[in-house]
């Protein structure tokens, strides 16, 4: 057991935390503006798929990344139109986004590569160290950036106002609708980065449902982290650690707990985290509500 806690484990924690971190930064941006984003999972999946497809079309992982992020931004735009302009139920809309992303990616895998289940292999984004993809440090750098934006800039204050009390924000001339659109689309971009990390950062291909609930775990991390970027960082590191331990344990001969059981660990940790600590936390007061005028 002594060589269980190794550099490899640490790298694995970072790797596992990265997609969650991207997605939860997106989730909290959206929720801070007052829009619940259950579609985060689908936006991640969209980003993951189109990053591979884009790389496959352009033969450049960087262009692929761009395609992936653009696609997830479009998914977010649809979410925004439905939940903000049409005032649809934000959970229903998010669920639709998730379904469409799952269906469309599976459909296109079949259509493009002619096989079910997975895409062909494509080029990946470069690593900056062994097992550490370039997107990993970008995710961590984004934490202070988002923090600074939300708490130190005028626009950040306006986003918070839109989420806390849209009527009050409108009464002082803040365009709640516009800020919410921006925040939701930003959340799509973040989620797309997270998805692209999975498909062309960590791996080099797309598989069906490769996000495996990470979008939802990221939402749990948003709540667990008290809707703050630093809190989300802590929460995603915890959830990432749960996944990394599970992977490490699988690779450790004689580990006492079955790996088939350990794969459930991240979900159990998430459940405990959200139920045990959610009491003390409250989200933006206007979450899920609509502005008065639009």
């Amino acid at each position: 057991m002594s060589d269980f806690f190794t550099l490899a484990l640490l790298t694995a924690v970072l790797r596992m935390a990265t997609p969650l971190l991207f997605a939860s930064l997106g989730g909290l941006t959206s929720e801070r503006s007052g829009v619940m984003n259950i579609g985060l999972e689908g936006m991640m999946l969209t980003g993951a798929f189109f990053a591979v497809a884009g790389t496959w079309w352009t033969s450049s992982a960087w262009l692929g990344l761009l395609v992936g992020v653009l696609a997830s931004a479009v998914a977010a735009l649809i979410h925004a139109i439905w939940s903000i302009t049409f005032r649809g139920d934000q959970i229903v809309v998010g669920t639709a986004i998730n379904l469409i992303a799952a269906g469309l990616s599976a459909f296109l895998v079949q259509t493009i590569w002619g096989k079910a289940g997975a895409s062909d292999r494509v080029e990946t984004l470069p690593n900056i160290a062994s097992g550490v993809n370039i997107l990993v440090p970008i995710a961590f750098v984004l934490v202070p950036v988002v923090h600074f934006f939300l708490f130190r800039t005028k626009q950040g204050l306006h986003i918070q106002a839109a989420g806390e009390n849209p009527q009050a924000a409108e009464s002082v001339g803040i365009d709640v609708t516009r800020y919410r659109y921006v925040a939701v689309i930003a959340s799509g971009i973040f989620a797309g980065l997270g998805g692209a990390f999975l498909s062309i950062g960590d791996l080099s291909y797309f598989t069906l449902d490769m996000t495996a609930g990470r979008g939802f775990i990221a939402l749990a991390a948003v709540i667990f982290g008290g809707w703050s970027p630093l809190g989300a960082l802590g929460a995603t590191l915890l959830f990432g650690a749960a996944q990394a331990v599970q992977i490490q344990a699988q690779a450790t001969p004689g580990f006492p707990i079955s790996s088939d059981l350990l794969v459930a660990l991240p979900y159990i940790v998430t459940l405990i985290a959200i139920t045990g600590l959610v009491r003390a936390r409250t989200g933006p007061a206007g979450l899920g509500t609509h502005a008065t005028t639009s």
């Binding site: 005028k154 806390e164 009390n165 009050a168 409108e170 009464s171 002082v172 001339g173 007061a285």
Partner: protein, 520 residues
């Protein structure tokens, strides 16, 4: 002081000319004209629903008028939103404060008026806010969180915000609704100072007393029409009242003297906690007798909500005893209270009294599903329930097409009638009536008041909670004052003056009756 005959009046700060605004089914403004001079405090007087708020929303660009014109400082103004209105020098102090509780005072004040910056300099902004606050005697900590400060201070934040935005014309929408008498006095002082500084103030109210206390001129509107504008010193309360409600409408309740009987509800040493776990209620003794209307008055937020919830079984009490008809109510849920003979007209028709998306007959079922004739053995008798509902609609004049109409589609008055019908159908011994006339038109108010007196006269007990002192004085046989969760005074109706009650609502107790000088 000034001779208005020889000196021309100052130019107009605001002129709204023949404003018409229609909404589906309602003409909210039906040709309103309002002229506000620079440097005056101008009261806009009208009943609930007279069209005051719509008019101000038009002024602020939240609605555009269907007809008519708006001028600000003589220039045509057609704002497309609050931002433009603010830019033109208008500032609004909302009735429901438009504040963000989790933000600090400074953040709330600068919100939307940060200027052309990206980075926020909170420290500099806080200094500026403190300066302005100091200049106008608005004593406040710029770094306090709004959720932690009193309602009176929150209102100052709204005023500060308007001043910070550079507003010269300030509109206050029912600004005294949530204030204690002392806070109201402070507000008047602040408004005087703003006027002395050249500011123009529109003071929206439906209380004659406030018009007399604060304004220079007053414009009265009724049912969307301007009735007239008067110099405050040249008019009488009677004239304004007639203008406001129209002639021939008497709001006094025809009420024979009470003949109170046995005590039916009794609370002793009753304590309860509020939503955040703080001690919210500490009632030494509350007795309610058959054949009386007991009025509970007090400034909003002094434990009325908790008292009502405890008395209706929605909130448990932590100490003391509560009996209804001799039965101990400890640990009972709302239906247990109903079984003991209690009915309850809640304050909020939409959130509590009705399920708006249920048909009327299912709303009549609310609280009644546990017994016949509405239900038996867990099965609902919908035919019986509907026929009962039809009968109640007839008896209480609830105007709706049929029992299957959804409650949402009824007017406020008809919704309230339905609730009263449901609550009285149970033939209760005790009726809790909480703000029972809020937001109703004159006809519906009269109906509700008459019903409450009828209930009293059929030897039942009524507990009336209202923030409208006039309603309390008009209806109650006895009055208790609630202050910070305690009953600080008990009075017989007719033996206490309005100003005396006001003092108790502001914190005076029977013990130190002479300790606090009166403000009169």
């Amino acid at each position: 002081m000034t001779d208005t005959a020889s000196i021309p009046p100052p130019p107009l700060a605001i002129e709204m000319r023949d404003i018409v605004k229609r909404f589906p089914g309602v003409v909210a403004n039906d040709g309103i004209t309002l002229q506000v001079r620079q440097g005056e405090i101008h009261a806009l007087l009208g009943e609930n629903g007279a069209g005051k708020s719509t008019l101000m929303n038009i002024l602020f660009g939240l609605h555009s008028p269907d007809e008519g014109h708006v001028f600000v400082n003589g220039k045509p103004a057609d704002f497309s939103g609050p931002r433009e209105a603010v830019h033109a020098g208008l500032g609004m102090v909302h009735q429901h404060f438009m504040l963000i509780p989790r933000f600090t005072v400074t953040e709330n004040v600068i919100l939307g008026a940060e200027g052309d910056v990206t980075l926020l300099d909170r420290a500099a902004a806080a200094r500026r806010v403190a300066e302005i606050a100091h200049a106008y005697g608005l004593d406040i900590d710029p770094n306090a969180r709004v959720e932690d400060i009193s309602v009176g201070l929150q209102q100052r934040v709204e005023i500060l915000r308007a001043l910070y935005q550079g507003s010269k014309i300030l509109i206050l929408d029912e600004p005294t609704a949530l204030l204690t008498p002392q806070e109201i006095e402070d507000l008047y002082g602040i408004l005087d100072r703003l006027r002395a500084d050249g500011g123009t103030i529109i003071f929206i109210t439906h209380k004659l007393r406030e018009v007399a206390a604060v304004s220079d001129r007053v414009t009265v509107i009724r049912r969307g029409k301007t009735i007239g504008t008067r110099d405050t010193r040249g008019t009488t309360a009677q004239e304004l009242a007639d203008m406001m409600v129209g002639r021939g409408v008497s709001l006094t309740v025809d009420r024979p003297p009470a003949s109170p009987g046995e005590t039916i509800l009794e609370a002793r040493h009753l304590q309860a906690k509020g939503d955040h776990g703080h001690a919210a209620l500490d009632i030494e003794l509350l007795e309610l007798r058959r054949g009386e209307i007991l009025g509970v008055c007090g400034v909003e937020g002094n434990g009325q909500g908790e008292l009502v919830e405890v008395l209706s079984g929605l909130r448990g009490f932590t100490a003391g005893t509560l009996t209804i008809g001799g039965q101990d109510m400890k640990g009972r849920n709302p239906n247990g209270f109903r079984d003991a003979g209690l009915s309850y007209i809640p304050e909020d028709r939409h959130q509590r009294g009705l399920v708006l998306d249920f048909p009327l007959w299912e709303n009549v079922l609310l609280g009644n599903t546990g017994h016949e004739p509405f239900a038996r053995a867990g099965l609902i008798d919908s035919r019986k329930s509907q026929s009962i509902t039809r009968g109640l609609m007839e008896e209480y004049d609830v105007r709706a097409p049929s029992p299957v109409t959804h409650a949402r589609n009824l007017s406020g008055g008809n919704q309230q009638k339905l609730i009263i019908a449901r609550e009285l159908y149970r033939n209760p011994d005790v009726l809790l009536a909480i703000q029972p006339t809020r937001g109703l038109d004159v006809g519906a108010i009269e109906f509700v008041h008459r019903k409450l007196v009828e209930v009293r006269d059929s030897d039942k007990a009524v507990l009336l909670v209202s923030f409208d002192l006039d309603e309390i004085l008009d209806l109650s046989d006895r009055i208790v004052v609630l202050y910070q969760g305690k009953i600080t005074g008990v009075f017989l109706s007719g033996q206490v003056s309005r100003s005396e009650l006001g003092l108790f609502m502001g914190g005076r107790t029977t013990d130190d009756a002479d300790a606090i000088p009166t403000h009169n």
